[in-house]
């Protein structure tokens, strides 16, 4: 076979594969967007191009339940989770990466092993704890229980990153008269932004999408976060599934994540690869 033809076919094959992957990844969301704009029986016709363009679903989502309040709850919980995770992650990783103490390796492994338990396994125990401290049906209870899910990877990523920071940088600051807290806030934090953004975003996504804890630890509509609220959107009767509303709600809550990721994507990439190669 001619070399040109061969390379052309290789190229075609490559792009076909890319197209397949993109379709597989994006189509479900695309279909959700399409469906969200449709009403009535059009919802159940299979179509791949936009046919109607109605915002009624978006409006009715906010009418049927306190969806605005749910979105606020989600933002509140997620932001709190990110803030708490980063605060505790950074301080813990400083100790784990920089301070020599007995049992450091064991502690790191223990922290990691926490993330191995399936959520269901700790669900009832966590429920008791949350109720005992009086945080049942409260967003603070949710935020604190999410720490269990975010802290292991936050601490691990930040510890790995902090280990890569040159020891002399810290020592220079110590010679300049910096306390450990000053070293963290004025020397390490500015250098660690990429890692913080990466872990912060991962924690945000995790908290934003979490379902099981959110379902179990809240009782009333006003305290629910978005994933639970969407799952509990109900139609006029028991036999009706309001797909239009559900799709519209899903689109509404996915867009902020996409925007966040697009804003920070450069940072994420540099954060994920930082420390992999020296330089």
């Amino acid at each position: 076979m001619n070399r040109n033809v061969k390379s052309l076919m290789m190229k075609a094959g490559f792009y076909l594969l890319v197209a397949a992957i993109v379709i597989f990844a994006v189509f479900p969301f695309y279909y959700a967007i399409l469906t969200a704009f449709e009403t009535g029986s059009a919802l159940f016709d299979v179509n791949y191009l936009p046919e109607s363009f109605s915002f009624s679903n978006y409006l009715s989502v906010f009418e049927g339940q306190p969806f605005g309040r749910n979105i606020f709850n989600s933002i509140f919980v997620s932001v709190m989770v990110v803030a708490l995770s980063l605060l505790m992650g950074v301080t813990a990783s400083y100790a784990l990466a920089r301070v020599k103490f007995a049992g450091r390796g064991l502690l790191l492994v223990t922290i990691l092993s926490v993330s191995m338990f399936p959520q269901v396994a700790v669900l009832s125990g966590m429920f008791e704890l949350i109720r005992a401290v009086g945080l049942y049906n409260s967003m603070f209870g949710l935020a604190i229980s999410y720490m269990m899910l975010t802290l292991p990877f936050t601490v691990w990523i930040l510890t790995a990153f902090m280990r890569e920071l040159p020891r002399e940088l810290e020592e220079a600051a110590v010679m300049d008269g910096a306390s450990p807290w000053t070293v963290i806030t004025r020397v390490f934090l500015p250098v660690m932004w990429p890692a913080m953004v990466t872990t912060g975003l991962l924690a945000f996504i995790m908290a934003w999408n979490e379902f099981l804890f959110a379902l179990t630890f809240t009782l009333t509509n006003e305290q629910r976060t978005v994933p639970v609220a969407i799952a509990l959107i109900s139609g006029a009767s028991q036999f009706e599934m309001p797909w239009g509303n559900i799709m519209a709600a899903s689109v509404i809550v996915t867009v902020p994540l996409i925007v966040l990721v697009l804003i920070f994507q450069r940072r994420i990439v540099s954060g994920l690869t930082a420390g992999a190669v020296k330089g």
Binding site: P166, L169, A172, D176, G177, A178
Partner: protein, 376 residues
């Protein structure tokens, strides 16, 4: 006054002792260089003085104050690191002002001090740049500037030039020497490079395996090394060691027989030596000259000739385990494989006893050193 005095300073990491009781007296305004092979403890010793490591035993005083338990910032010391360790997110100005800011100095005072340091180090143009926009030499100057602004009693340098290329290193060496003249502060400088030690130091401390081998001026170490280790460490290329046997001892001389069969009488203190003792004769490459094979101290076959331009280094297989190095004129016509004889004047030779301890040389014709020894 800011002299630095170490009394029996020891450092243990767990059960392992790495610094074995160092006694040292560094005078106010002195440029003191710690030198030794890697792993000799010179950096650890510097970090003990800086306060980055705790002293396990002994006493360290700076000025007239014992500072064992003081935090680094309260010791009145500033340190320049090998990797510069500049804060990457701060400008040159912020880097230099950081310590002052932490010490709660007023903005005006910060500005004044940073500007003064920048002037001394010619950094005025670069104050708004970030470290990544600077060359290696510039970064090193910023690191030095960061130390200067704190007006420390003692400057500590941890191999500050070893990340620079050869040309820049020589230039920074001279700048550092000039800086020392200007500031007249006590400076302690760690290096593994004996050329840096010889060129910059008022006082050299040679360390090996956590102990001080010898302390002295560069010329003292060169002409009167206390033992074979110091003799081999100071000078480049390193001193040649030739095994020999003592034949005859008098008060002012020792006559030895080299393994080559040649007998020589060296003007060194012979007390304690007896005929028949095994000794080692040290001959520096730069003291060698070419000679007829019958009158030469040693002779052998040339294995390698290195042309440095201003001189040539000839490596001769003269019967020992190691090749004998001789420094000859740059336009030497010696070729590999030829047989040559090597001679050295007896007053240029060194003698070490069985334990590697040097015998006192009694006839060193070096006027500056004699003057130095007479006054000091």
């Amino acid at each position: 006054m800011s002299e630095v005095v170490l009394k029996q300073v020891k450092k243990r990491f767990g059960p392992i002792e790495t610094i074995h009781g160092v006694d040292l007296n560094i005078r106010d305004g002195e440029f003191c260089v710690f030198v030794g092979p890697s792993g000799c403890g010179k950096s650890t010793l510097l970090r003990l003085i800086a306060g980055l490591e705790d002293i396990s035993d002994g006493e360290l005083s700076i000025g007239d104050e014992v500072v064992n338990d003081k935090a680094p910032k309260d010791r009145g010391v500033a340190m320049v690191f090998q990797s510069y360790a500049l804060y990457p997110h701060m400008t040159v100005y912020e880097n230099m002002a950081f310590g002052l800011d932490l010490a709660k100095r007023t903005k005006d005072e910060q500005r004044e001090r940073v500007m003064a340091a920048a002037r001394v180090l010619q950094l005025e143009e670069l104050l708004d740049r970030k470290p990544k926009e600077l060359s290696g030499g510039q970064r090193q100057r910023v690191a030095i500037g960061r130390a200067i602004v704190r007006k420390p009693k003692v400057f500590l340098f941890d191999e500050p030039l070893s990340n620079l290329d050869a040309g820049l290193r020589v230039q920074m060496r001279i700048e550092l020497t000039k800086l020392h003249e200007k500031l007249k502060s006590t400076m302690i400088y760690v290096t593994h490079d004996q050329v840096e030690a010889m060129t910059m130091a008022d006082k050299i401390v040679v360390l090996r395996a956590g102990s001080v081998e010898q302390v002295g001026t560069p010329l003292e170490l060169y002409h009167h090394p206390q033992n074979q280790f110091v003799a081999g460490f100071i000078g480049s290329p390193k001193m040649n060691f030739v095994p020999a046997v003592v034949i005859e001892v008098s008060q002012q001389t020792v006559t030895v027989k080299l393994d080559s069969g040649k007998e020589v009488t060296l003007p060194v203190d012979g007390s304690g030596l007896d005929a028949g003792d095994r000794v080692t004769v040290g001959i520096r490459p730069e003291h060698c000259s070419l000679a007829d094979q019958d009158t030469a101290l040693l002779s052998g076959t040339v294995e390698v000739v290195e042309h440095l331009g201003e001189a040539g280094l000839v490596y001769v297989q003269a019967g020992g385990d190691e090749l004998f190095v001789a420094r000859v004129t740059g336009d030497t016509a010696i070729v590999t494989g030829s047989s040559i004889g090597i001679h050295a004047r007896v007053e240029d030779c060194y003698l070490f006893d069985q334990n590697g301890q040097a015998r006192r040389r009694l006839d060193v014709d070096n006027e500056p050193l004699r003057a130095q020894l007479a006054t000091g």
